[in-house]
Point group: C2
Chain length 145, copies 2
DNA sequence: TCAATAAAGGACTTTATTGTCTTTTATTAA
DNA sequence: TTAATAAAAGACAATAAAGTCCTTTATTGA
């Protein structure tokens, strides 16, 4: 019943942390990110790498390098990170594990879970990283405790 | 983003299958249950054992033995099975993994996830095994495909 | 009482997830 | 052009979840 995998948790927190930086081109290194979101350094490196490959963040090698947001583009939402890490299918698999669960041959929970998933998708799709990072900066919410 | 663990999936399906039996005292063996819900036999045995220990179903050893529902009591809901298998905490852990996430020191998704979880809890708490098993018997929904 | 049956219980294996470590590649600045 | 730096990449290790197998215990009916 965990909402996100550990990988996804760290990914969300890492991206949020990057967005709390006022300068979208400020390069932040893995050690700092891992320290600030309290995540394992090497594992975080892998996740940042994937986020970068998926185009959600950018990276620069060499001295002064690190990860950064890059130029302003359309908003990023929590859902985008989840999709990038866990894949889009993860929000559509049958809750009872049926291979071919569908509205025409539904599992006992099909329609209810459908509604539920829709609600989750709406929620995650409405949570913009920009807004959340502002709340972090104003100490309304916290990335660690 | 899986709603249930595999253990929980099988547990729900096993209990649903038992409820499709008109006779609440008809003893059903592990092989039949596993076959009918398409689950691994030995693993299913463990799960049925746990469900029995938790008092959600009953069991009888020896010839003619098996698992059964037992006497009518207050309705069982999907939520009861989830709680019995995954524990009640599983619906309350912080989505971003913060140890002490709370309304006074919330993670960036705290309140939104709270609403979401409430919706899920309501849903799972409103799905009664009796009603779902009736839908299975009338071929409105299916346990396997 | 005894043999057969079926769940209970425990040790074990497999697989997926999480996490670590080391080497390579790209970049920077001296 | 070279030394230092930092991410990329890939192999490896630890842990947890899923699944198997074997022995024990309880029950039944002959």
């Amino acid at each position: 019943m965990e909402i996100f995998s550990k990988t996804c948790e760290y990914a969300i927190k890492a991206v949020l942390y990057l967005y709390t930086k006022q300068d979208r081109f400020a390069k932040i290194g893995i050690p700092e990110i891992a320290r600030e979101i309290k995540s394992p350094v090497s594992f975080t490196a892998k996740i940042l790498q994937k986020l970068s490959q998926r185009g959600l963040i950018r990276s620069a090698k060499g001295p002064g390098g690190g990860f950064y947001i890059g130029r302003k583009r359309k908003s990023i939402f929590i859902l985008d990170i989840v999709n990038a890490i866990d894949g889009k299918e993860s929000l559509n698999t049958c809750a009872l594990g049926l291979k071919n669960c569908s509205s025409s041959r539904p599992c006992p929970m099909h329609f209810e879970i459908l509604d539920c998933r829709k609600a989750i998708r709406n929620l995650l799709g409405s949570q913009s990283i920009e807004e959340l990072s502002k709340k972090i900066l104003s100490n309304e919410v916290y990335l660690v405790n």
